[in-house]
């Protein structure tokens, strides 16, 4: 304070501790992402076996996907199931969150825990249990059986983000809407839902990815002609370990990245209330 030049420009160099931290963060990011992105160069390899580094350049593995109709069918099924499960889980999760956050009742915490169990239970147990339950209902190896199983699986993801978002919303906002003449539905439609939107979109993104990616539980429920993409890829890889798998993975990576960028641009997850 006593020095006249207290307001001198800050030093251009970061302190050592911060540079170490930055290097560490970059290392972690590379470590996490590298195995994922390594499939991209492999997809364009001319080599018949899936080995690194790739040799040559070829698009024939992408052509191979198109030549095999089972991949297209599996993609369509996985997409349909993911979309169906997400819509149902989003609706149910939003309603459940409204009831759980806005009302206090005995057994409330136990109910939350119960809804979260699909996250905690080993997937293999859940898959076996669902197979045992869906079989007598005649839903085993059917679209609806698989779709229901994915609703169970994705519901906790949506509920968790919906609960977190909703409990951050001041109750007085809904009450203010009531006093301004909005009934419950209009209040939900014009106040609560718009404020929940970022959380619901995050939950829906999770749900889509979890459902699309699901392997263990689906394994118990699929059958001939009713195969999800991850299982179809696994089946293929069992017999031929060529870069076709890498090509499919590359397509999935692109779709996921585009989806996340679009959502980020549309709603600006988290930037909503700056």
């Amino acid at each position: 304070m006593s020095q006249p030049n207290a307001a001198a420009p800050p030093a251009a160099r970061l302190p050592t501790s911060e540079r170490v931290l930055n290097a560490y963060v970059i290392a972690v990011l590379v470590f996490l992402a590298l195995p994922v992105f390594i499939v991209v160069p492999l997809a364009f390899s001319d080599d018949v076996s899936l080995s690194f580094p790739p040799r040559g350049f070829s698009l024939r593995w992408f052509a191979n996907i198109l030549e095999r109709p089972e991949f297209g069918r599996a993609f369509a099924l996985s997409a349909a199931i993911a979309i169906f499960a997400t819509i149902v889980a989003l609706t149910a999760g939003t309603l459940a969150a409204l009831g759980l956050v806005r009302h206090r009742f005995p057994g409330r915490d136990a109910t939350v825990t119960f809804f979260m169990t699909p996250l905690i239970f080993p997937a293999i147990v859940l898959g076996a249990a669902l197979a045992l339950m869906l079989s007598p209902l005649g839903l085993l190896r059917s679209f609806w059986g698989l779709a229901l199983a994915h609703v169970v699986l994705t519901f906790p993801y949506v509920l968790r983000t919906a609960l977190a978002t909703l409990s951050e919303i001041d109750r007085a906002l809904a009450e203010a809407a009531y006093t301004l003449g909005a009934n419950r539905w209009k209040t939900f439609r014009h106040v609560t839902l718009p404020l929940m939107r970022p959380g619901l979109l995050a939950g829906a993104t999770f749900a889509l990815i979890v459902s699309f990616d699901e392997f263990t539980i689906s394994m118990f429920l699929v059958g001939p002609g009713m195969m999800t993409l991850p299982l179809e890829m696994y089946n293929y890889a069992e017999f031929s370990l060529d870069p076709t798998i890498a090509a499919i993975s590359t397509i999935l990576l692109i779709i996921t990245s585009v989806a996340i960028i679009v959502i980020e641009k549309l709603v600006g997850l988290g930037k909503q209330f700056s």
């Binding site: 906002l173 009450e175 809407a177 003449g181 909005a182 209009k186 106040v191 700056s274």
Partner: protein
Amino acid sequence: MIKANPSDAVGVDLRDVQKWYGSVLAVRGVSLAIAPGEMVCLLGPSGCGKTTTLRMIAGLEKPDAGDIRIGDTLVNAVSPWKRNIGMVFQNYALFPHMTVHENVAFGLTMRNRPAGEIRAAVEDAMAQVRLAGYGDRRPSQLSGGQRQRVALARAIVTKPNVLLLDEPLAALDKKLREQMQVEIRQLQRAVGITTVFVTHDQEEALTLADRIVVMEEGQIVQIGSPADVYERPKSRFVSDFIGFTNAVGGKVVSVTGTTARIETASGHSLDIPGAEGVAAGDEVDLVVRPEKVAIDPPEGSGCVVVEGDLVHTVYSGAVTYFHVDIGRGAILIAMAPNAHGAASALPTSGARLRLGLTPDTVLVFPRRG
């Protein structure tokens, strides 16, 4: 200019209203008639039931017993969105995802009014709270005082029957609070709307209200004009709450008519007129406002003179408080304005002071058990 037709203004009537929270009776039979166009303040410490009472008028809480009428309509079972009320919440509860204009327009939009009418009414209300031109901002881009004004505009733009304010100024700093008190009062007068507001700040209540309703533990303990409540609190609780900081113990020696002769703990004998509800032998508290205690009164001024040693001085800017031991450890606080600004001329601890008490400024309450 939003202005209710005076004949449109309706009253609010509460009769024996009760509210339970679990096994706690939060509001214990409140009865209160609020005249059309009146501004009534519910005053009390936190937990006295004032906010619950306000929320029951709003319809955000349902009374467990009793009747609430807005105008001639019994509203016990009427949803808040059908009551045609306006409410300002403690933290304003502005919708963060809407612009200021959309916030103010919300009530009219919900009433399906034509767009042109909404725009005109919103601009009118915004001008009335001196926020014209702020319509495109987000609530997060406004200062506390501006948010407060948006909340007010949003509440009055629908021309509600009743305006309800829940601690509307608690979140503002002192200067802004005083400014907003004046603005709210002017706005309420201009609009002519029946208004109920809740506060724990006695100064706010005195400044704003036509009538003050003091509540304690779920009950109304006094209803009166600000001057009434300020000058003649009915109980020790009210006197405490309204800022009577002096309390000297005593015992009633005799009662003649309504005048009680009291022997104080400090060994003085005082005849206090208008002492109700006390009998000879009762233990009582004598309370008096510090500003009613004269310092060094001239001879023959008709007040009772007590003498004591100055034990403590509190300088607080505009005024100074003198804590004087008037005998046997009983402390009487006197207040004097710092008219001459000479802090160095203040008496110092240990000085002998003469204090004058005017009997009709002294209130007598039975000792609280």
